[in-house]
Symmetry: C2
Subunit: 285 residues, 2 copies
């Protein structure tokens, strides 16, 4: 049994015990899988827990369904990152989707997840609407090509290979690859402990898209549980979510139209902090 832990700020730790199942260094990062009594198999990249078999639905449903439900008919969807396949799977649950392109930088992450955490992707990798490319997501977005109705950025944190996916140049490239009426969503970190991540991403996306918002959802395996998502696109609260969810027969465990609406209601300190420059520290000294 090994102990894995993350310390988002000094004096606080979220720690897991687990049976190590797999470990390797890809050219890009260290990939580990361990088996935890509470969460089942967990994926760890460069020491940071990315997802688990049992809690993955919190994150993947809240990353994918708000943007796709806000779009009246998403047909072509781009997923940047998301090597475990959980985001791709939720995208493909929308029957409007005709083509989903997933661009993951590290082929080994997908290979490891298909071996050790296959339930997260389900049958997504075998769906004939799915195209999986192992290349740099930033470069893919910048290259010319057919535009998308939605871009979902399912990256690791803005350290290491994921850093470029949090800046204005990347968001401008995303906007250029979106059709009119298109939508973008991205994970942007802990609003409690890494608020500057969310704030910088929000500022960059606001610059690129003219307007952007942050919404929230809990992810039990992430430090501090509460997580922030970036959103740029049509009004997610225009009253059509219920009808679209029903039309598309979405079968969810976390997401509901009401939960989507609620996710955009930010606590006052957070709404204030996201618009302040520089952002105040919520915790720590």
């Amino acid at each position: 049994v090994t102990r894995f832990f993350e310390s988002p700020i000094p004096g606080l730790e979220q720690a897991y015990e687990g049976e190590p199942l797999h470990e390797e260094r890809s050219g890009i990062q260290r990939i580990q899988v361990f088996d935890n009594a509470a969460f089942g198999c967990m994926l760890v990249l460069d020491g940071l827990v990315q997802t688990s078999e049992r809690d993955e639905f919190f994150y993947h449903e809240m990353l994918v369904h708000p943007p796709l439900v806000a779009h009246p008919s998403p047909e072509r969807v781009l997923v940047i990152g998301g090597g475990d396949g959980g985001t791709l799977r939720r995208v493909l649950e929308h029957p409007t989707v005709r083509e989903a392109v997933m661009v993951e930088i590290d082929e080994r992450v997908t290979a490891v997840c298909r071996e050790w955490l296959p339930s997260i992707a389900g049958a997504a990798f075998d769906d004939e609407r799915a195209t999986v490319l192992f290349e740099d997501g930033d470069a893919y977005v910048r290259a010319s090509g057919e535009p998308f109705d939605a871009i979902i950025v399912d990256s690791s944190d803005p350290v290491g290979p994921g850093a470029v996916l949090f800046g204005a140049p990347f968001y401008r490239a995303c906007r250029a690859r979106l059709r009119p009426g298109g939508v973008l969503a991205a994970q942007v970190g802990s609003p409690l402990y890494f608020l500057d991540e969310a704030r910088n991403a929000l500022a960059a996306a606001t610059e690129a898209f003219g307007a952007a918002r942050v919404y929230l959802g809990p992810v039990p395996v992430y430090p501090g549980t509460l997580w922030a998502y970036l959103y740029a696109g049509p009004d997610p609260d225009d009253g059509s979510a219920e009808a679209r969810a029903e039309e598309r027969k979405l079968d969810t465990r976390y997401w509901t139209p009401e939960v989507q609406r609620a996710a955009f209601a930010l606590p006052r300190f957070l709404a204030d902090a996201l618009s302040a420059a520089p952002p105040p520290k919520v915790f720590g000294e």
Copy 2:
């Protein structure tokens, strides 16, 4: 420096490092205070973190403002527990309140908090509208006496001295001590790791009040962060929250009328689990 940790389920730990400032055993429980780099002074009862100087507003605002804002004019309010004074303070922020009675079973908790974490109560203990009694909350509610407009149960978990505050007999007694149109709110634990606490409390309150609901809010120092609150009373989403917040000049850091509305939107798995008997395990085996 000492390490404090809670393990809500096997294989998971939320741990803090801190400088021990105070430790004693009252007749009722072990009381500890330590100073943590992230959260400031933290109160620990029988090994479980109760609150901290820096995150207390998440919990106290979400425990107090939803029930009091749902009431058109709360004048007499009862607080059961809440020895740190943070709940009493938020109750007294409603200018409609003419009398707030706080009934805390352990006088030493209040004494320790007044010494080490005085910012949580602010000036609440000196407010002439406040009456602080050190006695058994359950017995107080059962005794005959003037009725209240709101009862806020700010207890520790349903182990040890707090256990009786989660059952149907207690909730029936609360209902009997409420005026018509009265409201009750209570903390009922982690919906991720101790779901049966919330579910049992909800079933007991539904039996006592005819109807009850659960709402959610994050509390950073609690294990799993996401927390559940029990609610029985007038419709909290009748559209009057904005006007009442303004009328009462509520100055909040977490709560807003929108956040209150959002807090009642439960994720699908949780809504399902709260109504299932016995509740399924979300995490663990």
